[in-house]
């Protein structure tokens, strides 16, 4: 499962737009990930800040 480093996250939604599972959601300034996450790592790669950590980062 994805690790979200909230102290780094800029709550911009960039990751949400690329998630093929629709597993991410930005609720105001709070990013959430649900159980449909496959740890594919696309979100971690595109994050402008490096706030996400996946087992399979591309």
């Amino acid at each position: 499962m994805l690790t979200i480093h909230r102290e780094i996250c800029g709550y911009c939604g960039c990751c949400v737009s690329v998630c093929p599972q629709g597993a991410l959601e930005l609720i105001d300034a709070y990013l959430t990930v649900d159980e449909t996450c496959t740890d594919c790592g696309i979100c971690a790669k595109v994050c402008p800040l490096g706030a996400l950590e996946a087992r399979n980062e591309k």
Binding site: G10, Y11, C12, G13, C14, C15, V16, S17, V18, C19, P20, G22, E25, L26, I27, D28, I42, K45, V46, C47, P48, L49, G50, E57, K58
Partner: protein, 398 residues
Amino acid sequence: MKNKYDVLVIGGGPAGAVAAKTAARSGLSTCLVEKRPAIGVPVRCAEGIGREALTEFIDPHPRFISAEMKGAAIVAPDGFVMKLASSMAGNKVGFILDRKVFDRELVWKAAEAGADIFVKTRATGPVMDGSKVAGAHLESCGEKKIVKADVVIAADGVESKFSKWCGVDTTVPMREIMTSAQYVLTDIDIDPYATVFYLGNEVAPEGYLWVFPKGERTANVGIGISGRKSGNGHRAKNYLDTFIKKTFPSGKTIEFIVGGVSVCEPLPSTVDNGLIIAGDAARVVDPLTGGGIYNGMFTGRLAAEVAAGCISTGDCSKNALMAYDAGWRASKMGKGIARNYQIKEFLIRQPDEKLNDIIHSVAKVDLKEFSTLSLIKEITKANPKLLLELGALAASLR
């Protein structure tokens, strides 16, 4: 908040606000919801817009304009500068907005026109009536509500979750998300009347870096790079910090924002039964410039116009709403997106040496119409060989 509206708009950015204003003005009961507690913040935008594009929707006012632009410059990978100016329109070619104020202005206009507005209210899913989107489940300051509507306009920005919940795949391909970061830097030496674009694989791989003035010594200094070029140690912020250290070492940061800008093709269909998708959520950002304010307002207005027509005839099926999809695709904006997508695909394949050659060929351009199309035309005029390389695309540039 009522239980039922003619039109429910999800998202309070430029697309949603113009949609809500247009819908309310045409006499429809309209509700706009924004998930954030304040309209316009945090900003996720470089804030540039052309003069004509802005004035089509709103009269410029100093309240929401940070700076007025008279020209632009493109900096080649080797540092060569191509200057762009316009002898038309009194040299005034565009604006850098203050989106915090601008977005509020647009929502005020929607409210004035009669739309209900709710902030800190997010959609959590669609209300379905068979295969038709018939409203949305909302959470307003923690309280759950159901609001029904004849047409839902999804203007929920780059995240574009609402349409996804309705079964429309809005996922942006990894290589076509511009992962972006921007500082508002102050106390820096700039030309306060010109936007500057830096190109090159060292500076901003498959994207560009921008300096958009917001005042005499202040600018939005930002960058967008392709998602496939991003990774640990070489993210948008890393590239931006390297540039700033070199170019504006004594600049002071008064704001730092991040974001994602889609530069993919628009969604294959931007409507469904009872649903219209507008603005960034429909992936109608200009794929070459990354500009989305005008395209958002344009699709927002059209969405409401088509919704009004369909509601009056009692048919809000996908087929009926398709007039929206066909409408924006056939518009100047839609054709511009299609053309600029091809140009973007061509440009990102070019090595730095080729970009240098192209930019060196035109040192100073005086554009009658200050647009990317006019610029591309000037560049191909100076580089006739480019037309051959552009192949089928060249026809649309003549």
